[in-house]
């Protein structure tokens, strides 16, 4: 996610102070920015002519406003889809891809540990959603919904992996690699 575009979006509503940008970004997205990130990004935006700072120049007291160039950059960002390639690599898929070939790995236990962790996250999101206000917290609810759908998809994918694993092991010729799939026991599961 680009902090740069996040700040431009908030400034497109009205001019704001740096500390206000930070608080508002977090309120809407649930994602925290540190002060350094905000001011570094603002000075880059200013250098690039996307925003102008006004006020006495003292950092916390400057007010920043969007310029026409900044508005154009923001428009491009909103109208360009986020490509799948630009997202971070899926560590979980990579981990499982490597786990199925690795000796001594209890893959069902790996799947279950992940499933438990994902469910716990889903429990968290569900409670946070229940506490949010449908109107005042609209932006925040959209973010939570995204997390819910992603996590739900992950759990379904884990179930699918488990079924695929069982089928693959059943179809594999006998040998060390075709050891029966063990049910994950508590001892095998990272808590």
């Amino acid at each position: 996610m680009s902090v740069r575009h996040g700040l431009l979006a908030l400034l497109s509503e009205r001019p704001r102070h740096g500390y206000e940008l930070r608080a508002e970004f977090e309120r809407r997205t649930g994602s925290a920015l540190n002060v350094g990130q905000v001011y570094t990004t603002l000075s880059r935006l200013e250098r690039d002519g996307a925003v102008v700072g006004t006020g006495d120049g003292e950092e916390g007291r400057s007010t920043y406003a969007l310029t026409p160039a900044g508005a154009e950059e923001l428009h491009d960002w909103f109208t360009t889809p986020v490509t799948r390639e630009s997202r971070p690599r899926d560590e979980l898929a990579i981990k499982l891809a490597l786990a199925v070939g690795a000796p001594e790995v209890d893959v069902p236990a790996v799947l279950q540990a992940q499933r438990t962790d994902s469910l716990r996250a889903l429990q968290d999101y569900t409670r946070l959603k229940a506490r949010a206000d449908a109107v005042d917290d609209l932006a925040w609810l959209l973010v939570l919904d995204a997390l819910v759908f992603q996590t739900e998809a992950e759990v379904r994918w884990l179930d699918h992996c488990e079924a695929r694993l069982v089928r693959a092991r059943a179809a594999a010729p006998p040998g060390p690699a075709a050891a029966p799939v063990r049910a994950p026991g508590r001892e095998g599961v990272r808590r």
Binding site: R120, T126, G185
Partner: protein, 241 residues
Amino acid sequence: MSAVLELRAVTRQHGAGEGLVHALRGVSLQVAAGELVAVMGPSGSGKSTLLHLAGGLEAPTSGEVLVEGTALSGLSRKRLAQVRRRAVGYVFQDLNLVPALTAAENVALPRELDGAGARAARREAVEALTEVGIAELADRFPDDMSGGQQQRVAIARALVGDRRLVLADEPTGALDSETGEAVMALLRARCDAGAAGVLVTHDARHAAWADRVVFLRDGRVVDESVYRSPEAALGTLGSLR
């Protein structure tokens, strides 16, 4: 706090010899008042069996089931039937609504069987139908309702009166996602109001309403996910909101 439902090292076998099936292999579980527990697991892992045992519909092969501290194995048939009617509410996949009775009559039926007067039973039934959002359908017959509406009637029937234990087996199975969410909100509210709930579901989104999610595999509990606190939930997001 004492548990409303307690399973102590419960096993359940079906059949014998070649056909012997271990549906549950030693499950222990406690559900306190106010708590909603979800049970997840692949088909055949023993989820429905667990609910049947919890509600006294089947007896365990070994181990003990206690409802509000009373061991079900020690009860006479008559007392067991009473506990099933008074303390336990069920919502099963198969709704079991009586087609010849209206929604309100279906919901009132368990209360009437339990000796409540017809008037009181009707009033409680309408309250329960109101709670599930279909008070206006009280005098309609099941065949004249949508699947989602019938499901709500079945849930009202499970909630009517003062049930301390609500057992639900895939209650959202046939519902569209919005109605499913509404059903979950109802179950959650009932538990927040003091009931103990056990919900079987394959839908992670619905299981996530629970305080605890128990994972069954081959008749055993293999893991559990416990909701912690709002602070921890926010911590998950790396934010101090």
